[in-house]
Amino acid sequence: MLPELEVTAREQFAAVLTHDVAPAALDLDADMVGHYALTSLNKVLFLTELCETTKVDLANFTEDDLAGMRTLRDVTDAIARHVGPVGS
């Protein structure tokens, strides 16, 4: 996985949480809903924002793909398959 993608994902994920968590302290393998109390709407917003920042078309994914992304690593792995260098 591209390191800059992970950094961006951590920052974007921390930004949608309702509580303060340092991006570096996030556990990539923790369940986003169960562990970080991510609501379904915040999950949608997080993925929308991350796709916009990384210039990955959200249309690469289906509604079922999104439902299957349970951890931050699931998200970064899925996006890494479509991303160019972040910010390009």
């Binding site: 949608v16 309702t18 509580h19 809903v33 109390a37 709407l41 509604e63």
Partner: protein, 504 residues
């Protein structure tokens, strides 16, 4: 009386307006006239399946074109619909039996007698051989049931309520009177179409010639910035999320206007919120950002009762009473709603006794909410009657304002107050994250207590190990805490005086 709404919906091809469907893969736009013609093909396809006026069909699918076509086709045949939200209902033969369905259309992979994949609707809508013959004329009388609403309630299985054509007609007229939706408007809908209120905006488009956009839940934020709607139909949880997003963009250097436009587009006329109480700070945030937001009030059993709107709004209220509704406040301060055209007078599917708890024989609804009307007729909701705790000294404590104060701290996602033994108030707190920030939560307990009278003070706080969620059954689908289930889950700790964080 329904001639001007349902009469037109079933007989008149719209002259203007478009409908856009957005999913993650992209968007598709149709003229409403095209939608209308396609719905006639779907109606004939339903007739081919043996569906007849008075039958009931189930629609179990994510938001999309087929949902709308089936709903409109059913209206044109005088067939009832049951909107069944995927995730809440399993599309199997039991569902057909339980809700007396003749046909069930679903977008899930399943098979069985009477179950039809929704892809067949897509195909039927494109079949020109289904352009004839003319559909048999239908008339919806005010008391006719058009659809079954499902309401989560506070316990167990969903209750089913038949919504009458008269109640829908009355609500559509009242809302149009105050908001005057018309050409130039594009109303954005992303909440499930299984909720009747979300389909109102499609009916409104067909009647008043404005555009409407229907999005899947997952595509909502991406679609908003592309579609640039004039009105967004949301709920408080959605606006809380949008608010945080706007604030995050401001921290990155955008002005509030730029940040708000990045989320909602640049054409917003107003934002609609309802279904649950919105935090005053959230409402104020959007108003200050230049996005008027109007809160209203209503239950599944009453449909929309009050609404703030551009010509009459008052901070802290849920608006004035709409035409066709009457709000009565009883001696205990409980809000009752009388309607010229009630949604119904009883549930169609519910536990015995449920209907009598909420419906009077004439359809007047005991809402269970505490409220008052001010001198100008604006309704203010203070909490739930069930949420009034009577202490052993006779003092009544309304818990919602106390809970709201506790929740003001970002370390607390949700909290519910209980009163074991009528002697002390105990809060069960759902932390905003795990592990919980005990220091912040304890400090919030102290500062909340400092502003309360002695009877209202919280003596202990039980921290839930697992945050309340829809999945663990402690929040409703609209993110409201389920008090009975929360108490059951923490019964031992709530009733043990040694448990929890004790107030300093």
């Amino acid at each position: 009386m329904t001639r001007e709404t349902f009469g037109r919906l079933v007989t008149t091809e719209p002259a203007t307006g478009r409908i856009t469907f957005t999913e993650l893969w992209g968007a598709r736009t149709l003229d409403l006239a095209d939608l209308y013609r396609r719905s006639a093909r779907v109606a004939r396809w339903l007739l081919g399946h043996g569906i007849r006026p008075g039958d009931r069909i189930g629609i179990h699918a994510a938001n999309g074109l087929e949902w709308v076509l089936l709903d409109l086709a059913a209206l044109r045949l005088k067939v009832e619909t049951a909107g069944l939200e995927p995730g809440k209902f399993t599309p199997d033969s039991d569902l057909l039996t339980r809700y007396d369905l003749t046909l069930l259309c679903t977008d899930r992979h399943t098979e069985g007698p009477g179950i039809v994949p929704i892809s067949e609707v897509t195909e039927a809508a494109g079949r020109r051989d289904l352009d004839e013959p003319a559909l048999p004329p239908v008339t919806w009388q005010p008391e006719d049931v058009t659809t079954i609403k499902f309401t989560s309630g506070s316990t167990g299985e969903s209750k089913g309520l038949g919504a009458t054509a008269g109640s829908i007609d009355s609500s559509l007229r009242a809302v149009q009177e105050i908001f005057e939706h018309g050409p130039g408007d594009d109303l954005f809908v992303f909440l499930p179409l299984s909720l009747l209120q979300q389909r109102y905006w499609i009916y409104s488009a067909l009647l008043h010639g404005h555009d409407v956009t229907v999005s899947t839940y997952e595509a909502a934020f991406a679609a908003l910035r592309q579609v640039r709607p004039t009105v967004v139909m949301g709920v408080p949880a959605f606006y809380e999320t949008a608010k945080r997003q706007i604030e995050a963009r401001q921290r990155r250097g955008s002005s509030v206007t730029e940040a708000a436009q990045a989320v909602f587009g640049d054409r917003i006329r107003y934002l609609w919120t309802g279904s649950a109480p919105a935090a005053p700070s959230t409402l104020r945030f959007f108003v200050d950002a230049g996005l008027p937001i109007y809160e209203g009030y209503g239950l599944n059993e009453t449909c929309i009762v009050t609404k703030n709107h551009p010509k009459a709004h008052r901070e802290g209220s849920v608006g004035q009473v709409l035409r066709g509704k009457e709000v009565l406040i009883d001696a205990d301060g409980v809000v009752h709603v009388r309607s010229d055209h009630p949604v119904n007078t009883r549930y169609l599917y519910a536990e015995p006794g449920s209907s009598e708890q909420i419906f009077a024989p004439d359809g007047t609804v005991r809402t269970g909410d505490l409220g008052h009307l001010d001198e100008d007729g604006f309704l203010f909701i203070r909490g739930r009657a069930d949420d009034v705790i009577v202490l052993d000294n006779g003092k009544k404590v309304i818990v919602r304002p106390i809970e709201e104060q506790l929740k003001a701290d970002p370390a607390i996602a949700e909290c519910v107050l209980f009163c074991p033994g009528q002697t002390e108030l105990v809060a069960v707190v759902s932390p905003a994250h795990v592990p919980a920030d005990r220091t912040a939560i304890t400090a919030q307990l102290a500062s909340t207590n400092a502003a309360l009278t002695s009877d209202e003070r919280i003596s202990r706080m039980i921290l839930a190990d697992e945050p309340f969620s829809i999945d663990n059954g402690l929040l409703t689908s609209q993110y409201k805490p389920r008090r009975r289930q929360i108490l059951a889950a923490h019964h031992a700790a709530v009733h043990d005086p040694k448990e929890g964080i004790h107030a300093p």
